[in-house]
């Protein structure tokens, strides 16, 4: 819509030059949104943290001299001096009752298998970020298509499709996703060479087990988006401009994509961005219970799980990945709030 407007403005009719100038200065809905977002300080902070995480994730191999799977058997459960000082209850070898071996080669220390914690945390950022970007995309794609179809067609189809959503809602999501994960993991590894399942499994293995996490998130999270999209379409369907488009013979598909979609995208994007922290913690949860990424691929969830077993002696092993997870969720929450204020100002009035 924005593009259209500015194109027309670019070649104003003679005599409407002044009007054209004024139009040019207004930036259209998306331009306004960007400006509102920039003025939102918390959102900018969130965005900065996220960009920092993205940079760290992208350049992870250059930020460390170890690999995430590399085990050093002579440096199991070690911690550098500053970490020991940070946690009062950690006592270095040499002190009374001291048990932690000091090794300053590793920035945050090593885990129970002698792997560098820092390396595993920065590579773990890749998993969380991948989920943060692909999770909403799957949910957006499935949910919007489903919801728009349901809302646009209406009638009996709408009724049936929405009943299905209701049933999905009542389903215990977590139980379903756990079952799905086990199903994918074990049945696809035993599938015949060359079949679709086999190929999916190969892709999954290549991404360290992430594909199935995406599928799991996709299956369990589209319902919210679908409901929202449907509601929006229902209210739009009766608007004059849709009627006008239909009356001049625009096809259904064109109406959906050119007229309906741009108008519902705002609230849908807001909803999705607010759901990102949920997807991140979802992945962390799956990895925590051992159904997430395949070891030795590092995920913060599995690191916290391993670390929390030894929290009394080596708190650094659980606390550092936990802080990373907290930081990234915090950043996405801030950004999500800012996006809501920017893209959906009416909603932000009520639910600040």
């Amino acid at each position: 819509m924005t593009a259209e407007t500015s194109e027309k403005v670019a070649q104003p009719l003679p005599g409407t030059a002044r009007l054209g100038k004024e139009l040019e200065r207004s930036r259209g809905p998306w331009g306004d949104a960007v400006r509102r977002l920039i003025r939102h300080r918390a959102a900018l902070l969130g965005l900065t943290v996220i960009i920092a995480f993205v940079l760290i994730a992208v350049f992870a191999p250059y930020l460390t001299s170890y690999t995430y799977a590399e085990q050093n058997y002579t440096a199991i459960n070690t911690a550098p001096k500053w970490v020991i000082d940070l946690f009062p209850k950690m006592k270095p070898v040499g002190e009374d009752m001291g048990y932690v071996r000091v090794n300053n080669d590793y920035l945050l220390g090593t885990d129970a298998l002698g792997r560098d914690l820092w390396t595993r945390i920065i590579f773990g950022a890749r998993i969380s970020l991948a989920v943060a970007f692909i999770g909403p995309l799957t949910s957006l794609l499935v949910g919007t298509v489903y919801g728009m179809t349901s809302g646009y067609i209406g009638g009996r189809t709408d009724n049936i499709l929405m009943r299905l959503v209701d049933v999905m809602y009542a389903f215990p999501t977590l139980l379903l996703i756990i079952l799905m994960m086990v199903f994918f993991r074990s049945s696809f590894t035993q599938s015949e060479v060359g079949s679709l399942a086999y190929r999916l499994n190969k892709i999954d293995a290549a991404f360290g087990g992430m594909l199935f996490i995406f599928i799991g998130i996709g299956i369990t999270s589209w319902m919210d988006t679908a409901r929202l999209a449907r509601g929006q379409v229902l209210s739009l369907r009766e608007k004059e401009f849709i009627e006008a488009a239909r009356s001049i013979g625009v096809r259904d598909m064109a109406i959906i994509f050119r007229h309906v979609l741009p108008n519902i995208l705002g609230p849908v994007i807001v909803r999705e961005s607010l759901a990102i922290p949920r997807y991140i913690s979802f992945e962390a949860f799956l990895s925590f219970i051992g159904l997430g990424v395949n070891p030795p691929t590092p995920s913060w969830g599995s690191m916290i799980s391993e670390g929390s077993q030894a929290i009394k002696s080596y708190p650094n092993q659980a606390i550092f990945p936990a802080l990373a997870l907290f930081l990234i969720m915090f950043a996405f929450n801030f950004l999500g709030d800012g996006l809501r204020d920017a893209l959906d100002p009416r909603a932000s009035e009520a639910n600040k």
């Binding site: 215990p172 079952l179 799980s305 929390s308 936990a322 969720m329 639910n351």
Partner: protein, 337 residues
């Protein structure tokens, strides 16, 4: 109302039925079985075991057998010896003498723990998870609702900003993060509370807080938004105009309506907390249902998977049902017909 009641009760049964079907067929699709070992059992032994548990039947027949075992009640008389294959969840003594007992809900034997029935395991461990879930829910409500109320009543004041900061903090800190953090700071460093275990009230506090805090943030935001909206309504102005005290207006007039959206999320919230106990139980070393559910899936303990899934689904569906009924109480304008 009665019509609505029966209809949603039917819906409830339908959802449980779907859950049971999907779970049953999905778990039988997963390769491997309860008796698949690293070192393969001799074929004869395997055949016998499969025959004993009817695992050689077609899946649909197994399903029918399972469901009829579960749903068809029996009445027994006399002393009953414990048997893993016949252990019922519901045992009601009937007043006919000779220890006549109405027995219902036989979840069958656990395939991996050969000495216990699924009921036995559920009976020992589910109350733990349930208690933890309820405690976490109380934490969420006790922190969340007052926080949201204060924020709404003192909009744009320091109290408002403080509560909303707590709320953002809360949604960013899942149990998986808060658990280990609390455990270290409160348990290991400050030594205020025991770091793990189950049984005493002190041992309940940290798990419940780490599980409930994130949800309290959601409740706080929702309460604030909803109360703000209600406070703008005309009838609140009327109440104020006729000189009611401000506390009376808020508590009697505003809160009841503001709670409607809050109540709607309590159902899903309880579901999230109940399944969320998986993480908390692991962090705090609590022997609840969560571990069993995951172990049972990994070991293809079919009866156990079905038992836990159905029970969790039952709680979730019932929680939603109760929420529906609470609506009517909160807002008599809502009629279901």
């Amino acid at each position: 109302m009665a019509q609505y009641f029966t209809r949603s009760l039917l819906g409830l049964v339908f959802v449980l039925f779907l859950v049971s079907v999907i779970t049953f067929f999905l778990m039988h699709q997963v390769p491997g079985g309860p008796f698949a070992r690293e070192k393969k059992l001799p074929q004869a032994v395997l055949d016998n075991l499969n025959a004993k548990y009817s695992l050689d039947d077609p899946v649909w027949k197994q399903y029918v057998d399972y469901i009829s075992d579960l749903l068809i009640p029996t009445v027994t008389t006399g002393e009953k010896k414990f048997s893993v294959t016949e252990d019922h969840l519901i045992n009601i003594k009937l007043p006919f003498g000779d220890k006549t007992t109405f027995r219902w809900m036989n979840f069958g034997p656990s395939y991996t723990d050969r000495t216990r029935s699924v009921n036995g395991i559920i009976g020992t461990h589910l109350p733990v998870s349930f208690k933890l879930g309820v405690a976490a829910m109380l934490v969420a409500m006790v922190i969340g609702i007052p926080l949201g109320t204060v924020a709404a009543l003192r909009k744009n004041s320091a109290a408002d900003y403080f509560s909303m900061s707590v709320a953002i903090l809360g949604v960013s800190i899942p149990a998986i993060v808060l658990g280990p953090l609390l455990q270290y700071v409160v348990g290991v460093e400050l030594k205020w509370l025991p770091t793990s275990g189950w049984g005493s009230f002190e041992q309940l506090i940290m798990p419940a807080v780490s599980l409930g805090f994130a949800q309290s943030a959601l409740l706080a935001r929702l309460t604030r938004a909803s109360l703000l909206q209600v406070l703008n309504e005309d009838y609140i102005r009327t109440a104020r105009a006729k000189g009611l005290r401000s506390r009376q207006v808020v508590i009697i007039h505003a809160m009841k309506n503001a709670m409607i959206p809050v109540v709607t999320v309590l159902g899903p919230l309880f579901a999230a907390l109940l399944t969320g106990t998986f993480v908390t139980e692991r962090v705090f070393g609590i022997a609840g249902m969560g571990q069993y559910f995951i172990i049972s899936i990994n070991q293809r303990d079919y009866a156990m998977i079905m038992g836990t899934t159905l029970l969790f689904a039952f709680f979730i569906v019932v929680a939603n049902f109760i929420v529906d009924l609470t609506y009517v109480w909160l807002d008599p304008r809502i009629r279901f017909d």
